[in-house]
Symmetry: C2
């Protein structure tokens, strides 16, 4: 189910109020869960009227999107930072997968209530998740192109197929709905899977 | 959670009664769900006393184990039959994964209520699931050994590591708890993933 929502922003002057709502909502969701909270609950908790909140956000999901985007941005930043200075494309790939699993486990599961938003977002394919997936595929593509250019990776397979196949192999370790069933040994399994992927990329 | 249960069988003379209970229970679970049904509900539906059912099965799970074993045996049989007569190890591997996905989608999801038992079994790692996993790993090992012997597959990676890595890459398409999130495109994605695995096996 791909739910289209209009951009939540209603002008830069209201930026502070928006932030205030998002922060209070994140706190509220993390205590009471995303699914169980209504916009009325939020309004009561923040001390705003429901109508005032609707001036800034079309729906609860629009607030959830901002929280989710912020979380996924943290994961993307962790991934990118981990890859800095890696000497080879293989090593960049290893670091990408390892840091992606580590950051996902930490951000989705250290606080079970944040899992609640992430699970809704992943289950309903929110825009924030679709954007995150696009960025991840772009990162995979960048590493592949680098490794193909340096002769580290094979060049016969159409690169789009390779990107998609790797994305689908990685997904169970990044999507919170799937990762919850792999949590115990996600990091160990991740190492085995990266090794398999790198063998598949050998020239 | 690895729940040990004692063997449900209490002697061959009672074989027919056991079958009767399993069949009636399968019918009842498939209409009302596994989780929601108690042994009392089953007894009432079958027309036996609860004590009589307990003469044959230690628990509801013991009955569920038989139903689950039967289902998983159907999947294993489908996989093995699909592999018969394949000319190469690569082709055997392709057929294994394709038929495993097809049979899992059909058996777990064509009847959502059978999904209910399969999900409980997978989530709690019942003996029937552990046995199925062992058989699957053995099948992967057999194909790998065949392909290594014929020179079709590389021989450098320790074979146990290869078996485990392939098992973990396949798992999201066989475990019903994970498969439910991949259902829409499990078969297409499966083809891409098999291609990636076969590239990883190239000498």
């Amino acid at each position: 189910m791909n739910q289209k929502i209009s951009p939540p922003s209603r002008g830069p002057v209201d930026h502070d109020v928006r932030n205030q709502i998002v922060e209070a909502a994140a706190e509220h969701f993390s205590r009471y869960g995303y699914e169980k909270t209504t916009v009325s609950d939020l309004a009561k908790a923040i001390g705003f009227s429901k109508a005032y909140i609707y001036k800034f956000f079309d729906s609860k999901q629009a607030i959830g999107e901002v929280i989710c985007s912020n979380t996924l941005l943290k994961i993307t930043t962790t991934i990118n930072e981990s890859m800095d200075g890696a000497p080879t494309a293989s090593e960049r790939f290893r670091r990408m997968f390892k840091s992606a699993i580590g950051a996902s486990v930490q951000l989705f599961f250290q606080d079970r209530k944040l899992y609640d938003i992430a699970a809704a977002a992943a289950g309903e394919n929110w825009n924030s998740v679709a954007n995150y997936d696009l960025k991840l595929k772009q990162t995979i593509l960048d590493v592949l192109q680098e490794g193909r250019a340096s002769g580290e990776f094979e060049r016969k397979t159409p690169i789009d197929e390779t990107v998609n196949a790797i994305y689908f192999v990685m997904k169970p370790y990044l999507n919170p709905l799937l990762l919850q069933h792999n949590l115990d040994r996600a990091e160990d399994t991740g190492v085995m899977i990266v090794n398999l992927i790198l063998r598949s990329l050998a020239p």
